[in-house]
Symmetry: none
Subunit: 210 residues, 4 copies
DNA sequence: AATGAATGAGAGTTCATTCAT
DNA sequence: GATGAATGAACTCTCATTCAT
């Protein structure tokens, strides 16, 4: 939108245990307020109150509201990206069917594990330099997935980067729908199963035998 | 978040040509401001200014900011949902491969046709009762798609409604990623082609021959 | 308050019958809106709508909102003042007991006859140059009453003007209370009777036999 | 008009001395602005400015404009009501002539003591739920006065509650007239004297000897 | 370090008034 | 003459941010 990717610095390094706890509490509180009140009513005062600290303290740890929300978003994105990266690293050289299953599990589990946060953060993603951060996380995952695809033991991919992009998007879409629809239409395990079918079918269709 | 689906009424019926133009201009302006400034800076005053009318006029046509954004979102969602419904109706009884292609074309074209609007509206979708409206549009499309799947000439689906949900999500995900990443990584036609592959592969994998 | 007594001119003389009707309708509408919505929500548009005319028409007859409300107030005040003047003229030379009765009847009847208007107008009286107009009406009534008292056939008043002021205030107070308390505690006739007792007692106490 | 009696809560308890001073300053300022500019121009911003604080501070102590004005009105009404109650309690069992004098003194003194506030508040009384509050204050005073009348040592009242209502109204009317007419026609002491005459005359006329 | 009262720019919304039709 | 869409100043209220305590 308007702003370049801001540096995302904390005003202080939360070296002491106390500080770290406070920062964590504020992050939690932000998500809760986001879910309970919506972005427009997510104010620094309300977040501080929910976290049980004063606004002043909040500003001791985050230079402004922007940074607070960006930090919360970044943390979540990093969590998911790392889960994907780990899984991709572990399945280099595997068969595509296994890659598909592993990727779906890694991604969906990481998302559903923090379902509430995920849901809340879709709202931030569109603002606060969120788009850039989301983009960056996607790049990381894309690199990991296309790297993995290129090493598939049983299939060749003509354009691993493109296939990775479609694959990730195709997995993320239904997950997002599930998280955003309040009444959870489908249990997480069914979702995973169905997405494994999807991922496997796509990867096979998009590749040729070695 | 907090509010139920609001009635989405215009304050006045835009019967006269002049009014209709003004309403349209305001809608356009809302999207432009949304894209240029982000939601937080999308104020009624700015939208009115961009539309070349006074705030007062804006409020003559929309009871409040909420309704304005909701109306813009609703218009877009309806456009896409109708395109999908039309395509599904036309392909009842067809082969799944054709269904897949038709659905992808219909959805992606409708989205890319109003790419700017699409992109801008993801931000609204999370607020302003947007979630409910998005949900409703999804229901319409789901019904259309699962209805179509059930009539496939060459395959049987055990649970058309579930498959429809996954399919739509899987198509929407990559489209969304494309729209949200500012630098358009992939041309629209390539995207369609790849999604057709995805959709066909999934539908075949998820069904059994008649 | 801030402004001197404004000239209270209509923009046009309502010579034609049509105009006179419209003016009257607007006046009525103003009172209704005042009662139904309170001053703060008494807008020119609402008054015009209630009167069944356009805002534009309202402004054809009244130069501004101020004048409209002032005119409505003035009309009511004049009505009451005239009733009092008439009664006072008719009872010059009478006995104070009869004067008291006549005055109470005239004043209370005039007020209760337009109870709704009376009630609504207390709100205007404090603004819109209302104070001055109320003052002027009081002067007229004061002059009439003290003029009458001075001619009493059976008693002498040392300071008719002061006695008139107290008398009028003492009658107006309970009437106002009755009108302002929504649940009408006392029937109008009981009020009159009680006020006659009050007025007679005061006038006798404040005067000496001839 | 539209609303029930609002709870009249301050947003924060003005426990600290500083806060209490600020709240008081805002109340004072409200009265001054009311007198200087009239209700329509009595805006929260102007009141805050006159009080020497920011609008934000005003809203820290009063949830909305409504409550601010209501609080100021309530304070004044309570002051007067308490003065009347005190006087009535002290004159239970007294002779009606003494009761009359005491009541007039208590009421008129309380009003004139805060003449400016009194005058300003007549304007609020008609709006902002003022009517209800005024009504409540009147009830308190009515109860006190009729309770006192019932204990009169030298006279019997057939309907103390009705007599109390008329008496209070008859005293309030002239006081109001005096406060509202800018040029003070009559000194306060003369007014009191005249009202004592009025009150005594009425109470005697409305009662019978024991 | 922590607090939370104070600030004031800025948002949403209304409404008296005008004027092209 | 009548209409009512358009205007934009002004109002109420919120909230990110600061700083004296």
């Amino acid at each position: 939108m308007t702003d370049p990717v801001p540096p995302l610095v904390h005003r202080k390094k939360p070296l002491q245990a106390r500080s770290a706890l406070t920062v964590a509490a504020i992050g939690e509180a932000a998500i809760e307020v986001l879910l309970a009140e919506g972005i427009e009513r997510t104010t620094t005062t309300r977040v501080a109150a929910r976290a049980g600290v004063s606004v002043g303290s909040l500003y001791q740890y985050f230079p402004d509201k922007h940074s607070l929300l960006a930090a919360v978003l970044a943390q979540h994105l990093t969590h998911v990206a790392m889960a994907v990266e780990k899984s991709c690293t572990e399945h280099r050289g595997a068969k595509v069917a296994d890659m598909a299953q592993a990727l779906v599990h890694a991604y969906v589990s990481a998302k559903l594990e923090h379902a509430r946060a995920s849901q809340a953060l879709y709202a931030i993603a569109a603002e606060h330099g969120g788009a850039e951060r989301v983009e960056m996380a996607r790049e990381r995952m894309l690199a990991a997935v296309s790297g993995m695809l290129a090493t598939a033991g049983d299939r060749d991919f003509s354009d691993p980067s493109r296939h990775a992009a479609i694959l990730l998007g195709a997995i993320a879409g239904p997950v997002r729908n599930l998280l955003e629809s309040n009444r959870h239409v489908m249990p997480g395990d069914d979702l995973k199963e169905e997405l494994v079918t999807l991922a496997r079918a796509y990867l096979l269709a998009a590749s040729t035998p070695c």
